[in-house]
Amino acid sequence: MLEKALSGSKYYWSWIFGLLVVIAVGVACWFWQYTVGLTITGLSRDVVWGFYIAQFTFLVGVAASAVMVVLPYYLHNFKAFGKMTILGEFLAISAVIMCMLFIFVDMGMPNRILNVFLYPTPHSMMFWDTVALGGYLVLNIIISHFTLAAERREEPPPRWLKPVILLSIPWAVSIHTVTAFLYAGLAARPFWLTAILAPRFLASAFAAGPALLILLAFFVRRISSFDAGQQAIDTLAKIVTYAMTINVFFVLMEVFTAVYSDIPEHLTHFQFLFTGIEGESTLVPWMWTSSLLAIVALVVLINPKTRGNHSWLLFGCVAVVASLWIDKGLGMVIAGFVPNTLGQVVHYSPTAPELLISLSIYAIGLLVITGLYKIALEVRGQLRKATTN
């Protein structure tokens, strides 16, 4: 089936070529990082996790969000999601691969990665996160492979696949819950020490993931005759709306608890994010942008008229993804470290090589997703523009 990914048009090849260039630059940076150490990043003794781990966290959410199409389709027999499920599963596969790469580039000793399995440690949340992510990747590869193969032969998917699909539903919830537990169980970090972290992770994931899926569906519709269906997009838009509303509600609950209780070690992290402390205000403009985007997105999405309009919906989805990316891909992780455990205000910002390595991982994700979608589209013989060119 892989050969399907390897024949395409001029545009297709220049897109692939562009991605490969970005990847090559990132790989070169990574080799540099591998030889001299993580000192080439902006990380320090005080801020030991940064951009890499934050991207990992954001993408776990994207991966988990596939459940938002799988669940209605298989549990509620919501037929309109028939075409969307395969898009969702591919997005999940590509997101999990990116997650693993972000963990890999963050490791000080990547050549020892197998130690996690050689010395399995059930009391470590990182061990469980590795198990959960690996399992989720395998599940999604199996599911999408056999569904597509069956479709190619114009047969229904094999019967044994159904329980595997059902298993992937709680599994998706588990990957993001365990990822939240990485943070939420640490006495040292009051900013993350909140029971709402896992629910909030899930809510933001179920908003950002489906929003991305809508954007992808629009895009795929432009370049091919593959149409996920109007009803599917409308329903996904509703899911994004509800999830985003719940997410904003959760954030406000956190802000209330910190501000009203007025406990300094909880409050200072929010001050770092929204007002800056002791002149350290790197994230302040970002966080206000994120908040503004969240409000705008809610206005656009809650109003059924704008939500039903494609351009507005597109705009709303971009706003949701951007807002949540800032929140999770920048604010959430970094704020846990500022101030540090001694109450000192420290600075972190990613360096150019750190950003280039991250960019190349996103490019790898896009490459994976391009290849997978191409296979799916060609199996369904619906590629329009790309082949006539």
Binding site: R45, M126, A187, A188
Partner: protein, 284 residues
Amino acid sequence: MTESRRGFLKLAGLSAVAVAGSAAVSAKATRSEGHEPPATTGKRLALVVDLRKFAKDDALFAAVVEACHKAHSVPDFGDDAKNEVKWIWTEPFETAFHSEEFHYIREDLKGKPTLLLCNHCDNPPCTRVCPTQATWKRAEDGVVMMDWHRCIGCRYCVVACPYGSRSFNWKDPRKAANLAGLDPKAFPTRMRGVVEKCTFCDERLARGEEPACVAACPNGEMAFGDLNDPASEVRRLLTEHLAIRRRPGLGTQPEVYYIVEDPRSLMEVAPAAEVFEVEEGGHA
């Protein structure tokens, strides 16, 4: 006061059951705060830093830090705070105990350097999170150990330590100027990409010696020993003096103690009789 006390006793007699109940409740509440004696059976090694004695000798801090960092080939990157590696260091007293508040402390105590190192917590969060058991609490004496050959450099332990005791090797420590001409028989250097910290000098303990930092103190400014041994020096010090630990409320059970003041000097401020009176009043 005696009136109200008598009244209280009468009330207590009438509601003995209720009082018994509330006593049980308060006993339980104290326990749940987690301030129990060490859970480690056998030996429970601990370190006592006598801040009063240190107050007399500021030059000693540098000597102690130097003794440790030299004994353990800790790289020195000069002013490069971003790549810093340290096992023991000083912070101002208020920073070391930043979760307490010291607005009106004596002038001479303000900003006083305080030695910080790994607390070898009896309930260490760092070992709990490590995905490879590259860091663990030694069962026989409670020392929190590091295996630099197993560590994958994920830094989860650094994130989980509430005391900033751990350092990651962002760059090759062997390239640090102070380790250039190192004696090959010296303490082995680490490689870049792993986490390191104070190990209570496990290599010296194995030879029956006390930690290098303790040995560098001429007048017992630091003491080291077994908390589970009632005759040990550390037990004696902790019995006779008022000692505090960093962030005890987190339940980590740090085993580095700081003697801050002689209780007798507190007595001079509040005479014993008065203390008793206040207590009596409290019951009424």
